[in-house]
């Protein structure tokens, strides 16, 4: 309920009117769960854009995977992250070897939910893609039937880069790739996924920004 209101009154107007999306290959967006959506990460807006992009009835089933240390650092933010954004908090540094850091992700997939995941791990330098972490490969191996859709986002790092508070309007590119599945081998899977997003990145024209 809160989530729907927040998305109708704030997120959708900001994402669709203040920013504006330039979507390519809309037909490749997963229509149902379980599924995993992965994209490059430049801005807090990334999650909001992906959650706007997926079909509205799926909203309550979307689970952004987000850093526990960052989003649960105080009670207000934790309430927002858990109740409104429905995040799955992830330990960035595994403390206990016996605990499975991806257990909650697996459970969500088993419940038919859709994970939103940023394999770079953090927003990093705006509009620069960092190396992918391999957590996604563990998940893919455990759930070989779940389609993984790579999405390339551009422009959100210009609109609201790390360390700034006021968004400046920019049209944002959202290019959606063909879904991939576990290939049987971690190295080849990670290459396919990374390459998938790089290929999408090359589809569009991007003006210089430095």
């Amino acid at each position: 309920m809160f989530q729907q209101l927040f998305f109708i009154l704030i997120v959708r107007p900001v994402v669709l009117v203040v920013l504006g999306l330039n979507v390519r290959h809309r037909e490749r967006i997963p229509a149902k769960g379980p599924a995993i959506v992965v994209s490059n990460h430049n801005s807090h807006l990334d999650t909001l854009v992906l959650m706007t992009l997926l079909p509205w009835p799926l909203l309550p089933r979307l689970r952004p995977v987000a850093a526990k240390d960052y989003f649960l650092r105080n009670r207000l933010l934790a309430w927002f992250a858990l109740r409104i954004m429905h995040i799955i908090p992830l330990e960035r540094e595994a403390i206990d070897r016996h605990q499975d850091p991806l257990a909650a992700c697996s459970e969500a997939l088993q419940n038919g939910e859709i994970l939103i995941l940023f394999p770079e791990g953090s927003r990093g330098d705006p509009e620069q893609m960092g190396p992918f972490k391999s957590g996604i490969a563990h998940l893919a191996k455990r759930h070989p039937d779940v389609p993984i859709t790579p999405i390339f986002l551009h422009g959100l790092g210009k609109a609201l880069p790390k360390g700034t508070a006021i968004p400046v309007p920019f049209f944002c590119d959202v290019f959606i790739g063909d879904s991939v599945r576990w290939s049987g081998d971690r190295a080849s899977f990670m290459t396919t996924l990374g390459q998938g997003i790089k290929t999408l990145a090359e589809e569009g024209y991007r003006p210089a920004w430095e």
Partner: protein, 313 residues
């Protein structure tokens, strides 16, 4: 009365535009029926986008003068956003861009207040001085000239020029009893868009001699002159119903719109060619982006405005 700001001839003209859209939709449907093997997706998308654009525009015009001003402010916002997203920008200039966007509500507020003096100098003088100053305070000197120049060109084109269309709305209604402010706006927008279509159709049917091949290889002398003739004739027919222009003045207005429209169109083409993009965006299926649709208007709006303003206000 909700329609008190609208004269009967404006209503008739809006009805005429809707009629043309109905005819266009019927023709497209007929073409699809007659040639099922051919692909009319772009034509159909284009007409559908026209329905949405004209629908929103008509609602704004009919609703109130303020709604119409807000409509143009929103178009300026979309156009500036598209432009800023298209051109190279500097990371350091985020705050400068913020102020460039902030100029839009101010500029249209001056329109709303009928403050002509401020309206006419706000962007060419104050923003022109403010934005480079803001850049200098940030202190990034690399590509300073490019950043200051491109941003101001964008503001002049997308905000200052377009806001002239809105200023028609607040001109003294007594001078133009036939059409009022809305009549002049309709005259400007309709003839500008009509001229685009007319030049395109004349070019398709009879075009042979390229007019400006380096910038826009599909534009021909035949298209340009055919459009010029048709638009000017229509400008003379419509003028008594929508404007205070005399017949000889409306001849001038028609020529100005046809010529200005052409130049606005190829100016944005040059911009896109420079950047290496085909369409400026994807907001209007079948047309491209907002800039692809309002390119002509960035020239015709200020040109027609000052022509009419000088002669009658």
């Amino acid at each position: 009365m909700i329609l008190s700001h609208i004269t009967p001839s404006v209503l008739t003209a809006l009805g005429g535009v809707l009629g043309m859209l109905v005819v266009a939709s019927l023709i497209a449907a007929l073409l699809k029926r007659l040639h099922p093997d051919k692909n009319y997706t772009e034509l159909i998308q284009r007409i559908r986008s026209w329905w949405i654009m004209i629908g929103i525009f008509s609602c704004a015009i009919l609703l109130s003068r303020t709604a119409s001003i807000l409509f143009f402010a929103f178009v300026s916002f979309l156009a500036l956003k598209e432009y800023v997203s298209l051109i190279p920008t500097r990371r350091a200039d985020r705050r400068v861009l913020f102020w460039a966007y902030a100029a839009i509500p101010f500029q249209y507020y001056w329109v709303h207040k009928q403050w002509y003096g401020m309206f006419i100098i706000f962007i060419p003088v104050y923003l022109f001085l403010l934005l480079p100053m803001r850049m200098v305070i940030i202190g990034e000197t690399k590509d300073f000239l490019r950043a200051a120049g491109t941003l101001h060109w964008g503001l002049m084109t997308m905000v200052f020029s377009l806001s002239h269309a809105a200023f028609f709305l607040v001109l003294d209604g007594a001078t133009n009893p036939a059409g009022g402010g809305a009549g002049l706006v309709l005259y400007l927008i309709f003839l500008t868009q009509f001229n685009d279509v007319a030049q395109y159709v004349w070019g398709k049917l009879t075009g042979r001699h390229k007019i400006i091949p380096k910038v826009s290889p599909n534009k021909t002398w035949e298209g340009f002159l055919g459009g010029l003739g048709t638009t000017t004739a229509l400008a003379m027919v419509l003028a008594p119903y929508l404007t205070p222009l005399t017949p000889i003045e409306s001849l001038g207005a028609g020529l100005l719109i046809a010529l200005g429209g052409f130049i606005g169109d190829v100016t944005i083409s040059a911009l896109k060619r420079d950047l290496g993009v085909k369409d400026s965006g994807s907001l209007l299926p079948g047309h491209g982006g907002v800039l692809d649709r309002i390119d002509s208007l960035t020239y015709t709006a200020p040109l027609l405005f000052h022509f009419v303003y000088y002669l009658h206000y």
